[in-house]
């Protein structure tokens, strides 16, 4: 039983890590008033870029490449959504499609049409001394690939930056009432651009995690909608770093649940568990009164109305 529990918790954290990166990035973006459903594109681009970069310089080089790849995709999104003030939803959809198709194409071209898997060594779990010996949760929380520890650090850092710096205050204000920020001397456009790039960076790292800390290889479409789930996680987490982290855990748990149940000998169809996070999202969105907690100017195309 404890073994099943431990495995379940380990699986939870492992699944939650890439979700958390993407969702934290999207939190920053949406706090500035922009919805980026092209996040999926940043994730998949980060995955492929991570694979390629790792082949030329090791795992950490891979993560740097992943971040860059994600940022590049989000830069395209920013050009249209922030620069041209195009419809954010359609732009995001197009960017996701572009990245999904683009990475698939590029991968096949690079590594053969049959998609012969190119592998890369992955980060093995690094156990933190003492902490990882805590019963039940020790290995789950503290014997993970070190990129997970990066998330542990990212959450409080992001929280502090959002609520204890003027930059974070400006970010939040732009997402609520851009008019108010203009008269305070802030440029909403610039804030949104930077936010989108940060979101892309973190989304890329999310994809990099999938490859460099988990699969060890790239597969077309391996992001599997994580970018979209991240958006739901942001809603569930009420656009706050700690809430988002918690929501990511819930979704990680929802995915890891199947192993738990299977270990217990349950015969429920595994698709139920796979679908569960998505259904959970719908329920969460409906009951979270998402609109009332969202940044007031989310999705707004015009910035100045005086």
């Amino acid at each position: 039983m404890t073994d099943a529990m431990t495995a379940f918790l380990e699986g939870t954290i492992r699944t939650a890590t890439p979700l958390a990166f993407a969702a934290l990035g999207e939190t920053v973006v949406e706090r500035s008033g922009i919805i980026n459903i092209g996040l999926e594109g940043s994730v998949i681009a980060g995955a492929l870029a991570g694979l390629i970069a790792a082949g030329h310089g090791g795992v950490w080089n891979g993560f740097a490449g992943a971040a860059l790849g994600g940022m590049l995709v989000s830069a395209i999104f920013a050009l249209f959504a922030v620069g041209f003030r195009s419809d954010q939803i359609i732009t995001g959809t197009a960017v996701s499609m572009l990245a999904l198709g683009g990475t698939g194409t590029f991968y096949r071209l690079l590594y053969g049409a049959s998609g012969a898997a190119l592998t890369t060594p992955t980060l093995s779990p690094t156990a933190i001394p003492f902490l990882s010996t805590i019963p039940v949760v020790g290995t789950a929380l503290f014997a993970q690939p070190s990129v997970t520890y990066a998330v542990y650090v990212l959450i409080p850092v992001l929280w502090w930056w959002m609520y204890h710096t003027h930059a974070g205050l400006a970010l939040r204000a732009v997402g609520e009432n851009p008019n108010a920020t203009i008269v305070a001397g802030i440029s909403p456009r610039r804030v949104q651009l930077i936010a989108v790039l940060i979101g892309g960076l973190l989304g890329g790292i999310s994809g990099g995690t999938l490859v460099l800390a988990q699969a060890g290889t790239f597969a077309e479409g391996m992001s599997a909608g994580r970018g979209f789930i991240a958006i739901a996680i942001v809603v569930l987490g009420r656009w706050r770093p700690w809430g988002v982290a918690g929501a990511a855990l819930i979704f990680g748990a929802a995915s890891a649940l199947q192993y738990f149940f299977q270990a217990l000998g349950s015969h429920l169809p595994y698709q139920l568990f796979l679908a569960f996070p998505y259904v959970l999202t719908l329920v969460a969105l409906a009951t979270a009164r998402g609109r009332t907690n969202a940044p007031a100017a989310l999705g707004q195309r015009t910035l100045q109305t005086f």
Partner: protein, 525 residues
């Protein structure tokens, strides 16, 4: 209310009236060093509309200066220029003796100006401290900000809880936050746009006291308002704008309600001259309905209508009125007194929260914002014709009929358009409006409601629209017209009612009584 006449500026007892106050001569009367804010010869156009023409303002340091004017006189526009929110086409802005060319509000703030807007520029979901802190740099210490807020609020007597969230605060408190934002940034000149519009009488008095406290400590206040009584009671000096020009600048002690109202409205009514000649002159400006159509059943009727809304500007209380066939009812009101909701209730576009509404199934409605509410700009004239009352239409749409209808409207209403298949966007504003009026009369020729129908139009188009309104009335339609231009209402209407704070008033049918009722000066219930 002020006793510093030492510089010999304005001789006691003589209000200064000007056609336009501009140029060096006027400013000579107020020495540079005394002036906190000076605007000279400001011109500003928005497209075809002239908002300001040679407007001027001279505000002495250490005074409360009221900027008065009717709707559309240009008060807010002038202050937007002063605060860097708007670039003037011509003219100068001098702050504390230095010439400035503001590119943004930041520049104005740096120069020592602070503005409290009519629609607050606050983030409702954030706290007072966060709102005040907005725009700073580096590490954010809400603790420090809160301390500063406490200091400033004590210094100026502006009680506020820095930890409260804006949306939980009553309007008066929110306004204090706006003021604090400016004071925390060391504003020496405070501009307030209609601050008492959203306050109760008690809150207004408190605000004015707080502003006095600010002035006593060396600050200057410019205060935009249309409330004469407040201006007289609390201001040291007043400037009156009318149609974008400065028409009066005087010490508050040297003017009274009469002079101010006359300056704002452009009349020459004095209490003593109620001679027959004047009576005749006044009656000429308003046609009274002399028993015309009084026997016919009303086309539009409201009984005890009330409307609640989160926005005070859309609240109505106990409205009862009737409009008969063949008459034009004019509604006169200052912006934000409920006319927006009332017109839509009359036109059947809005259901009131209480009361009964008797209107025909099809009422034509010409809204103020035709681009947003009346037309689909990228669609053709024929399509826009079909748009009217589309909600109740069924079945097949024969576009040939729509085209014919559009062509008919174009001819009857003299709309300059390439043809029925031209996109409405390509028409000029005046022609678009003529088209809308024509379309609405086609749909509902029994009743027509118009909201600022000639706003933004040139003289010819304005005259055309007004002619069409009269023609409709003569053909038996019941017409309701609201215009923020009082003269227009007086020229068109057979009967005038006034909306003030959501209630209906029926003043005597002369310009001054109506004007005063609009400003809340009427003694009538």
């Amino acid at each position: 209310m002020t006793d510093d006449q030492g510089d010999g500026s304005l001789a006691k007892g003589t209000p200064v009236e000007h056609g336009a106050l501009s140029g060096p001569d006027a400013s000579l009367q107020l020495p540079e060093r005394e002036m906190a804010l000076r605007l000279d010869a400001i011109d500003k156009r928005f497209g075809a509309t002239v908002a300001l023409h040679g407007a001027a303002l001279a505000v002495r340091r250490g005074t409360v200066h009221a900027l008065l004017g009717e709707n559309g006189a240009g008060k807010t526009t002038l202050m937007h220029v002063a605060f860097g929110m708007s670039r003037p086409d011509a003219g100068t802005v001098i702050v504390n003796g230095t010439l400035h060319q503001f590119r943004s509000p930041s520049d104005a703030i740096t120069a020592g100006l602070g503005m409290v807007h009519q629609h607050f520029m606050l983030v409702p979901a954030m706290t007072v401290a966060e709102n005040v802190a907005l725009g700073g740099r580096g590490r954010l210490s809400l603790h420090d900000v809160t301390q500063r807020i406490d200091t400033v609020s004590q210094q100026y007597g502006l009680p506020i809880d820095a930890r409260a969230t804006i949306e939980t605060l009553p309007v008066g408190a929110q306004q204090r936050v706006e003021i604090l934002k400016a004071l925390v940034r060391n504003a020496s000149i405070l501009i307030l746009d209609e601050p008492t519009a959203v306050l109760t009488a008690q809150e207004s008095r408190e605000l004015l006291q707080q502003l006095r406290g600010f002035v006593v400590q060396g600050g200057t206040v410019v205060w935009i308002t249309h409330k004469l009584r407040d201006a007289l009671e609390f201001a040291d000096e007043v400037t009156v704008l009318r149609r974008g020009e400065t028409v009066l600048h005087a010490n508050a002690a040297d003017v009274n309600e009469v002079t101010l109202a006359n300056a704002m409205l452009g009349t020459t009514w004095t209490p003593s001259s109620q001679s027959a000649a004047l009576g005749v002159q006044v009656k000429q400006t308003v046609k009274t309905s002399v028993g015309q159509g009084e026997e016919r059943l009303p086309t539009l009727a409201l009984h005890g209508v009330a409307h609640h809304d989160t926005s005070p500007a859309d609240r109505l209380t106990d409205i009862s009125l009737t409009v008969r066939p063949g008459e034009i009812l004019g509604i006169a009101a200052v912006e934000g007194n409920g006319q927006h909701a009332l017109l839509r209730i009359l036109a059947g576009r809005l259901t009131p929260t209480a009361g009964t509404v008797h209107i025909p199934p099809h009422v034509g409605f010409v809204p103020e914002d035709r681009h947003r509410d009346a037309l689909i700009l990228d669609y053709t004239l024929a399509e826009n014709v079909e748009l009217a009352d589309l909600g109740t239409r069924r079945g097949y749409i024969p576009w040939i009929r729509s085209r014919a209808q559009a062509t008919r409207i174009v001819e009857e209403y003299d709309v300059r358009a390439p043809g029925p298949y031209a996109a409405v966007r390509t028409l000029s504003g005046g022609n678009q409006q003529k088209f809308v009026v024509g379309r609405e009369l086609q749909v509902g020729n029994r009743a027509l409601v118009l909201e600022n129908p000639t706003r933004g139009l040139d003289i010819q188009a304005t005259a055309d629209i007004q002619d069409h309104i009269r023609t409709a009335r003569n053909a038996g339609a019941a017409v309701v017209v609201y215009s923020s231009d009082l003269d227009e209402i007086l020229a068109l209407a057979d009967r005038v009612v006034v909306l003030y704070a959501g209630r209906l008033l029926t003043p005597a049918p002369d310009r001054d009584a109506i004007g005063r009722a609009m400003l809340g000066l009427s003694e009538q219930p």
